[in-house]
């Protein structure tokens, strides 16, 4: 079974600075998808960025980018120019591209991001 590990329970960053959230995963599959979700106090899971495992190029969405290291099974999220609105819980998630597990998302335990003004 796949597992996702987020080793940082909590991180802090100064407004306008850069922060990196870590994520590692374990799988025997070669084709899969990885995601970062943001969950503010409103509880809604908001997709931040996604990465297809077959793509070598790291995904980028405005101030958010990932460092995808397939061999190391690492998928970190970098937030540049941090804003107060970035404060939230961030979850790393894995989804198999095969059919055995359907569309099931496997989540890590999350990292609380605090942004200081």
């Amino acid at each position: 079974a796949q597992t996702v590990t987020q080793s940082q329970p909590e991180m802090s960053v100064q407004e306008a600075e850069t922060v990196t959230l870590s994520c590692t995963y374990d799988t025997s599959e070669s084709d899969y998808y990885l995601f970062w979700y943001k969950q503010p106090p409103s509880r809604q899971m908001i997709l931040v960025i996604r990465q297809e495992a077959y793509k070598q190029q790291n995904a980028t969405e405005n101030r958010f980018s990932v460092n995808f290291q397939k061999a190391a099974k690492s998928f970190s999220l970098k937030i540049s120019d941090s804003q107060l609105g970035d404060a939230a819980m961030y979850f790393c998630a894995y989804r198999s591209a095969g059919t055995d597990y359907g569309n099931k998302l496997v989540f890590g335990a999350g990292t609380i991001l605090r942004v200081k003004s």
Binding site: Q44, L47, G102, A109
Partner: protein, 113 residues
């Protein structure tokens, strides 16, 4: 386009009482999921529907939990009787066929006292 709608937003019940949660997915999304999120943890899948059919309910505690998705649209998740350990956020999500991302609802926070 309306997102995934869940109700109620909050629910407080006494243990051994029944409770039900409702989810209306995005129009046209044939896949619907119920996740449970315990405090300080990531969500875990309870059940997945493809249209009306429950295709993955291996993590659903069937002695007390039940779910249905009539006509392949709205879904209801029920707990009877509720236990203290059922206190959690229950998230519903939906996706269209072939799409690898989800849209989540805002969840129902259940407190069992």
């Amino acid at each position: 386009e309306a997102g995934v709608v869940q109700s109620p937003r909050y629910k407080i019940i006494e243990k051994k009482q029944p409770v039900a949660f409702w989810c209306n997915p995005i129009s046209g999304h044939n896949t619907l999921y119920w996740y449970r999120q315990n405090l300080g943890q990531g969500p875990e899948l309870l059940i997945r529907y493809e249209n009306e059919e429950a295709v993955d309910d291996s993590q659903l505690p069937k002695d007390r939990f039940s779910a249905e998705r009539l006509k392949g649209v709205d879904s209801t998740l029920k707990i009877q009787p509720a236990e203290l350990g059922d206190s959690a956020v229950y998230l519903c999500a939906s996706s269209s066929q072939g799409f690898y991302g989800y849209t989540f609802g805002s969840g129902t926070r259940l407190t069992v006292v």
